[in-house]
């Protein structure tokens, strides 16, 4: 299997609404940034790119079928191969892996992926209805289809099982909003406190407005290549590429209906032992088995046996503060049940940033240095690709150039994980990025 690299990426500014553009030119904004960053002309790219993949989550949000075809022709990529990837909240992460597969399979030397979502075309509560249609329409949706409610049920079980507190959840929001303060791409850039989160409007007990990501309009694009592809790009641009190698990919699934999730044994990572969890029924609804499976597979491929010490950063799918804490555990950054204490001790906070709290383990493994979904926004089909772009820039050491602010650059970042997640932990992808130059 050929080595696969991320060569460039671009992200549009995520915003509550982008009425100034339909989705195609919004995708082109991200794409133009991607081209500009490596000095590649539009027409050179048309020549060199072998195929494309596109992603958006909901046909309802756009009220436009085959949007993938429309974005593809807008970028001038006809008549070459394209396919659309969709998998709920993990749509972007699945598309990232589809781009990787296009090159890893040997089919293509250079693949372009792009994703977007335009969520502003309906009101927030209609948008929540569309999202809730990604739950069983016979048994789940009619009972009170509301994703924030579903995740809130999962966290009340986590709280019961492990003693996780609402203040620990709020700390995730504090971290991610404060990080985003230094990220110009983020939708919500503000400094907040635990009290701000708890005093915010209650949405689904115990989750408040500030525990939950927002709907966004936005796009992102990623360019993949093998070594032959990199040679072609370097020849065309006269520049040396600074690629990021994709050293691991993993995926997982769980039953769509939370009620169907089993209560069995924990899937163990290399650094864990069965006796760590002898009294734990797993995954139930407190944990994401799919996230654990995706992590295990990605770590195995990347040769990672001790994730917290072998990763320099993680960009994970924090649609909810609670799901960030649950995901620390799935990814083995801490043991199951220890996610609350993990954030309380400051382990996933950025080093060198003042959050206004005493955080004895601050900077141990920065999680969502970009601000994550909670602060950047979650234009679903773009989100997983946005994580890849930010991860690529971290590994390149170019965050300061792209953000115009060096605060969020993790010093000497060599290797990081990106994690994309759908519907209460149905589809999950984990991909491992490593500095490739």
């Amino acid at each position: 299997m050929p080595d696969v690299y991320v060569v460039s990426g671009g992200v549009s500014k995520f915003a509550k609404a982008r009425p100034d553009r339909t989705f195609q030119p919004m995708v082109k904004e991200a794409y133009d940034y991607l081209l500009d960053d490596i000095g590649l002309d539009f027409t050179q790219a048309v020549e060199l790119v072998d195929g494309t993949t596109s992603s958006y989550f909901s046909d309802h949000f756009g009220r436009q079928l085959m949007g993938g075809a429309m974005a593809t022709d807008y970028l001038g990529m006809c008549p070459k191969h394209n396919k659309r990837i969709e998998g709920g909240g993990a749509t972007g992460g699945l598309n990232f892996q589809a781009g990787w597969e296009g090159v890893a399979s040997g089919r293509f030397d250079i693949v372009l992926t792009y994703g977007w979502e335009t969520m502003s075309h309906v009101n927030t509560w209609k948008g929540n209805e569309f999202i809730a249609l990604a739950s069983d329409v016979s048994f789940d949706y009619p009972v009170g289809g509301f994703y924030s409610g579903y995740y809130a049920m999962m966290v009340t079980r986590h709280m019961k099982e492990f003693g996780t507190t609402v203040e620990q959840l709020a700390l995730v929001s504090v971290k991610n909003h404060n990080n985003a303060f230094h990220n110009p791409y983020a939708q919500k850039r503000k400094r907040i406190t635990i009290e701000d989160v708890r005093n915010s409007t209650m949405v689904a007990w115990p989750l408040t407005l500030l525990d939950i990501c927002v709907m966004s309009d936005g796009a992102a694009a990623v360019l993949f290549a093998n070594e032959e592809g990199i040679n072609k790009l370097e020849k065309a641009t006269g520049r040396s590429m600074k690629p990021t190698k994709v050293i691991g990919v993993g995926g997982g699934m769980d039953a769509m209906r939370m009620a169907d999730r089993p209560h069995g044994d924990v899937i163990l990572l290399p650094h864990e032992k069965a006796e760590d969890y002898k009294d734990l029924k797993y995954p139930g609804v407190h944990s994401f088995r799919s996230g654990r499976n995706a992590s295990k597979e990605a770590y195995k491929m990347a040769g990672i046996t001790d994730p917290i010490n072998e990763l320099d950063f993680v960009e994970l799918h924090d649609a909810y503060t609670s799901s960030e804490i649950q995901t620390y555990e799935d990814m083995g950054l801490c043991k199951y049940g220890e996610g609350g204490g993990f954030v309380e001790r400051g382990a996933p906070f950025m080093p060198g940033v003042d959050y206004g709290y005493d955080l004895p383990e601050q900077g141990k493994i920065p999680v969502n240095p970009s601000g994550g979904l909670i602060a950047c926004g979650h234009p679903v089909g773009a989100t997983g690709l946005m994580q890849a772009v930010f991860g690529h820039w971290q590994c390149q050491g170019t965050i300061a150039d792209h953000f115009g602010d060096p605060t969020l650059q993790i010093k000497d970042a060599k290797r990081g994980a990106i994690h994309s997640h759908a519907g209460t932990g149905t589809y999950v992808t984990v991909s491992i990025l490593e500095k490739g130059f």
């Binding site: 009220r63 509560w125 049920m153 209650m202 169907d260």
Partner: protein, 177 residues
């Protein structure tokens, strides 16, 4: 002077597009700075949704019975109907769930999807039964949403049925037992 022709005109009606914005510049070069035009596009669909193999569950609710499926081969017992066993693929049998179970987890929805906004605040629970392997999603009533507390987890609850069935999973709901 040219003769003024009376072209046919479509009769005017008082419905139409709701316009949110129509600026227009004198100079066409300024068109790229023009604000976008937003129009309303209503979208209503009636689906004929079949419950298919799960239909007996809804017939059960209409007759005051909470039904689910059990695998005759491996014995796995589902709290929500599933006609084929997730673990061995065998076609399942129907059985009646106990009237009383326990709250496995819950939330109070203060907001919701548009369809359910008028019902807020409402309480969602996953019900567990000691002898059943999986759970069941339902509404909990007859508790004060303002009293939400993690102590609700483990509460014993009892199924009640709507007298006039709407053939929705909400035909059954739970109250504190």
């Amino acid at each position: 002077m040219a003769e003024k022709k009376n072209y046919y005109k479509i009769p005017e009606t008082d419905d139409g597009t709701i316009l949110f914005n129509v600026p227009f510049p004198e100079d066409l070069k300024q068109l790229k700075d023009m604000a976008p035009i937003l129009i309303k596009q209503p979208y209503h669909i009636d689906y004929l949704h079949s419950y298919g193999q799960d239909s007996p569950f809804f017939a059960g609710l209409a007759n005051g019975k909470l039904l689910s499926n059990k695998c005759p081969k491996c014995g796995y017992t589902y709290g929500t109907p599933r006609m084929h066993c997730m673990y061995c693929g065998t076609e399942c049998d129907w059985f009646e769930l106990p009237r009383e179970g326990y709250i496995h987890c819950f939330t109070v929805c203060h907001f919701g999807s548009e369809e359910f906004l008028p019902e807020t605040p409402f309480i969602l629970i996953l019900v567990e039964w000691p002898e059943v392997d999986t759970l069941f999603l339902a509404r909990l009533v007859d508790v004060d949403p303002a009293d939400a507390s993690i102590d609700w987890v483990g509460m014993k609850v009892r199924a009640q049925f709507k007298r006039l069935s709407k053939f929705k999973p909400t035909d059954v709901y739970f109250v504190p037992a």
